[in-house]
Symmetry: C2
Subunit: 197 residues, 2 copies
DNA sequence: AACGATACGGACCGACGGTCCGCTTTGCAA
DNA sequence: TTGCAAAGCGGACCGTCGGTCCGTATCGTT
């Protein structure tokens, strides 16, 4: 309805901006020494173009983030178990959180940029709602868990970008160790009692 | 050694700034519509004074935060159990996290300001290290918990200011409910098997 | 009283996110 | 091919904010 196909140059510029921003975020130390002017310059584009295409800084970061995240969301909604649907809830929760952790490790700066976008919290972003709903739904199928809603929030908090950055960076915790730690922690939440049914 | 007693007006101004900033942070919607100029004006002081006393914005917020936090740290290090030393680790972990949650509920805007101080993450702040060490130490005495270090980080992440804000604000979760949720979640981490010894 | 040390305060600066508007490009249609 | 309106471009420009600087006022000591 309200769909209007963009002009060719607009599409090209949008892509150029995304690519440039991506590269800049990878190379930067802290996310906010990538300025909008930097991105525009690196993309060979005026600032006006950049802001028209993405609205504001947050919009640009969100667009980048969603683009990177898409394969994972695809794998979760339509891929094979244990990530995809069909796996028993506990295993799938483990798998989803692990995937999320790996994603943040692979996109540290970008995730950091998104979550530390001053002003609005990460909890306003659309994708957060999706992850939370998914986790909550699965957690509610775990017997004995009183409150899936809060548990979902808390588990997601365990893979927040700045925590991951803190551990992977200054603390120098290796990737596999972090994954194991997270899996252990999550396992406890899912039911520390190893016996069952 | 490097201690020099401050001049009387300096001390008075410092106090005025702290009080003014405190009031402004309580009344504000988002932490960054309290500007340094606002604080200076509200305190009846020039910007120069403000920056000389606290270094920068982060310094001011940290000073405020630590001041507010002091009673709780006191209660933890020297008060009666279960918050103070002497309580068995699981109960004390519960008590500490509950105290922390209540603190963030009572100081939402301030905590938010501190943790969203763009640039450096919350993990650089001194008090974070203190809480983490305390929790880790206690968690390591809980049997079956493989990694107290990560668990401590993850539990602290569950009471992060913006999560608390998200739940208490937009989601309108009542205080007591949040406390119960956190306690339940923490209990699971500590050992979901309620039976035992 | 007088004088050095200390602190004050607001004009000033540089940076950044975001806007505006005259000019260029695009793509449709005659 | 040419003409033309709409869509898009880009960089000068703006307001705001954190932070600095330095001439002036205050303190407290002798």
């Amino acid at each position: 309805m309200t769909e209007r196909k963009p002009r060719k140059d607009a599409a090209r510029n949008r892509a150029a901006v995304l690519a440039a921003a991506d590269a800049l975020f990878v190379r930067c130390e802290r996310p906010d020494d990538v300025t909008m002017a930097d991105v525009a310059a690196a993309a060979g584009v005026g600032k006006g173009t950049l802001f028209r295409a993405f609205g504001d800084r947050t919009g640009l970061i969100k667009a980048l983030y969603e683009a990177r995240l898409e394969p994972i969301e695809e794998a979760v909604t339509a891929g094979p178990p244990p990530l995809g649907p069909g796996a028993p809830p506990p295993q799938r929760v483990l798998a989803v959180l692990d995937a999320l952790l790996c994603f943040k490790l692979d996109n540290r700066r970008l995730a950091l940029a998104l979550e530390s976008t001053g002003g609005d919290s990460p909890y306003g972003a659309a994708h957060y709602g999706r992850w939370h709903t998914l986790l909550r739904t699965m957690l509610e199928q775990v017997p004995g868990l009183a409150d899936g809603d809060f548990a979902a929030h808390a588990l997601l908090a365990a893979v927040r970008a700045d925590l991951v950055e803190h551990l992977a960076g200054p603390q120098d915790v290796p990737r596999e160790r972090m994954r194991a730690q997270l899996a252990d922690f999550t396992g406890r939440v899912l039911g520390a009692a190893p016996a069952g049914t």
